[in-house]
Symmetry: C2
Subunit: 489 residues, 2 copies
């Protein structure tokens, strides 16, 4: 086999040489330079270099550096600069790149720039924006800036911005763009390609084209790959894909993102009740939604009210406001747990050693419930579980709970007898409580998120902190009940 | 303005009519049918229908239904069917669709199918797979199945599969594919499009093409949009983008996913130390990585050892194994908290009311710390925070902690005096402990994940359960210390 392999290797090498023979020869030193340029992007260094050039008023070189950079990196560098330097730097960018950089910037820097723009400059930037980006910006700006933006867009765009703003927050309609390529059923492939060449420059994606008729009814989708690989005279209606996946304007953006993930889409058409095409969502927006939704879930699971802003963009007071409501609520709930202890005060006084195991029982219960709830919450988000599965989930969690509970109880029992030298009866009280607590915790942990989703609540808030508070109370009640039964106190 | 708007509306309508005039007329009933077909995908219904047709041996209609379905949906339906029916159904699929469905199926169903395939059938499916999918399958299968797979691929593919398997798990190299379109510097646009037409059918993406020379050195990237919109005689080297973003073969897949998100990429080139192109990662794989990494982080935060499998694919015993280690470890740690209580037993006996507030203090501390740690862990994952920011983070968390602590303490103080009718001194003990606990919890919560990342640990394990255990002990020590000081017990 190794002989065969060698032959094939040789064959490939020969094919390669043949194929590459017409290449230009590139000097070694050139290569090095390019590699350095690519690998060498160090934010702090670039910021310093740009500031130096600004001080020297060396605008020619500044322009050169900025043109060679990726718009995303430029926006990151701009964010690091002093606010008063951004407008000057921005004006050094070529027109198209300027719009790309503008889109990538944070809302406060965008606002700063818009306030500094002349009407003409503002118009230039707005003309280059895709509609969904324009909508995002309008949503973030204060009223007087929005007014200036709308005054400087043509009435057509203005109408469409207003149209999109009408869709509910977090719906497919609110994140879609209307810059798609539409084709007709009876077009030939070469007509279609011509149409793309003519209109494609203003479209957010040309990679999936949509086949509609005069009433905008969506008949199918055709990818540019299919177009390029098809015969020039083929008709669109013969090569289009009619099993396309679409979303409704009012569908939740999380569902949109899940469809992208499930079907590996580049873009998804957004249709109305009559299956008329009203827009598309592109994969980059879907990726943003996925990351945002994951962050949102994670924050909710940690008893934080989620926001869209990144860590350092959120002010201290905003962070405080996002965290205090749940802390307060959970603190109040935890005092119920305290009152359970108070009501068993006399029992605790007769057998003070019981107090020592309260933290262990509460923590283990909270952790067990948290594991179940978080697993189920994530599975719900990813559409792995639905309401109909509730008994399957409970059955599974019940078995896992018994296995976990038994293991923990056995380990603990040995430890209580050997290390803590407890009486067997007291050790039994602790361990039986442990098994029951873990069992109840897992069952509560897995059912609450599913029930929450069923009644329209966000399952993510049913995570560890919330479950912990419930389980704490349950574990104490079980603890004292079993103690009373076994120890007769 | 409304007059102007109306005019524009009219104009658009006219333009539309003109443009759409050559469309075929589509019957109302046709439309309805299509809409129903698209909207009406109900898994359970389809499974039932297919099972009925199977019982009736109506293979013609079965074939028709399957051909009209999306491969992803077919795989979902297959997963729901009885195992022994899958091979028969699979053979009804057209060859290309069969491979697409195969890729989407779970590993156990894939294994079942492979075991049932003749060598010829296996070869047919393997020929249709992209290399990265083939690698994924090889990674999931048991040794004897892998051997059969490798025996039925040509030596070229076999060598490349082995090549990719050599890259470390979770590295860019391990998730890349080598089916990309490469162009040469001196090609014209029309030559490039011809090349894409000739070779594109086997490429995973044709939407971004890569410009390399005979040594595979990567000079630039060019999108098919640029190609289509450029002049036919333009040279590739003049229109290519040299500010492309690339990743190194050994870069972590999470970084790869973050770059997709940051730069809105469709594909990213994977290069070696000499900037030679060795493969590409496409956006669908990046999306999978993003979702998997988020799920992994979420599970780790809930003290679960993460796995790749979905909820119901994980057996009860696997779920148990994933949860018990942390439960055990945290249970043992929680017993230290218990021993703190024991050592203050006499103090507690003199002032039993103090016991009642232990759960509230521990829970609030745990929740506060959990909020800070989870926020920081997520920000670390999304590259919003790095090690150099540690003091900025601490400074921010310290202020948030004081605000939260003060608010909680004031509310609690009022409640303790008015509702619980405590002595002022005892209420003071509880509230001062609360402020200090929240402060320490937030500081521990925000620093541990950053430090963990610095020393190469996964920051996600430094989440609520771990923090809670530490904070529990801290809060009790503070509580008893302050009680001793103020109440002189």
């Amino acid at each position: 086999m190794s002989e065969k392999d060698k032959n094939i290797d040789r064959e490939i090498d020969e094919r390669k040489n043949e194929d590459y023979i017409k290449d230009t020869h590139v000097e070694e030193s050139d290569e090095k330079e390019i590699v350095d340029q690519i690998r060498g992007f160090d934010e702090k260094e670039v910021v310093e270099q740009i500031e130096n050039l600004l001080d020297q008023k060396n605008y020619a070189e500044l322009k050169e550096i900025l043109t060679a950079m990726n718009p995303v990196d430029i926006s990151t560098v701009f964010e690091e600069m002093n606010d008063n330097k951004i407008p000057l730097l921005f004006r050094l960018l070529p027109k198209e790149e300027a719009a790309e950089v503008f889109v990538e910037m944070e809302a406060d820097a965008q606002e700063l720039l818009i306030r500094g723009f002349s009407d003409n400059e503002l118009k230039e930037v707005l003309d280059e924006l895709y509609l969904d980006d324009a909508v995002d910006i309008v949503e973030e700006m204060p009223a007087n800036v929005v007014k200036r933006i709308l005054l400087n867009t043509d009435s057509d765009t203005r109408r469409m911005i207003n149209e999109i703003l009408k869709y509910p927050d977090d719906s497919a309609g609110s994140i879609m763009t209307i810059e798609y390529v539409s084709l007709r059923l009876n077009m030939t492939v070469s007509e279609a390609i011509k149409r793309i060449r003519r209109t494609g420059i203003d479209k957010e994606t040309i990679y999936t084209c949509y086949v509609t008729d005069s009433s905008r009814f969506l008949h199918g989708a055709v990818s540019i790959k299919t177009l390029l690989l098809a015969d020039e005279d083929d008709l669109i209606k013969d090569i289009m894909d009619t099993n396309y996946v679409s979303v409704h304007t009012h569908e939740d953006q999380e569902d949109v993102a899940n469809k992208f993930n499930k079907y590996d889409l580049l873009a998804i058409p957004v249709v109305d009740d009559e299956n008329r095409l009203v827009g598309i969502v592109t994969f980059d927006d879907a990726i943003d939604v996925m990351q945002d939704e994951a962050t949102e879930d994670i924050k909710k699971m940690a008893a934080i009210i989620p926001s869209d802003k990144s860590y350092f963009r959120t002010t201290t007071f905003e962070t405080f406001k996002a965290r205090i409501p749940w802390l307060l609520l959970l603190m109040v709930s935890a005092t119920f747990t305290g009152s359970i202890i108070t009501s068993f005060e006399s029992a605790l006084a007769t057998c003070t050693i019981l107090t020592a195991y309260i933290p262990m029982l509460m923590d283990t219960g909270g952790n067990s419930g948290g594991q179940a709830s978080v697993t189920v919450i994530r599975a719900l988000s990813l559409d792995e579980i639905e309401f109909g599965d509730i008994f399957k989930v409970i059955w599974k969690e019940a078995r896992v709970a018994l296995m976990c509970g038994a293991t923990l109880a056995v380990c603990n029992f040995v430890k209580l007898l050997v290390l803590d030298r407890l009486q067997v009866t007291v050790a039994l009280v602790v361990c039986i409580t442990l098994v029951i607590t873990v069992f109840i915790a897992k069952i509560i942990g897995c059912t609450l998120p599913i029930l929450a989703k069923k009644i329209g609540f966000d399952p993510a808030v049913m995570a560890s902190p919330f479950i912990t508070t419930i389980v704490d109370a349950v574990s104490l009640l079980v603890y004292f009940r079993i103690a009373t039964m076994i120890l007769h106190i």
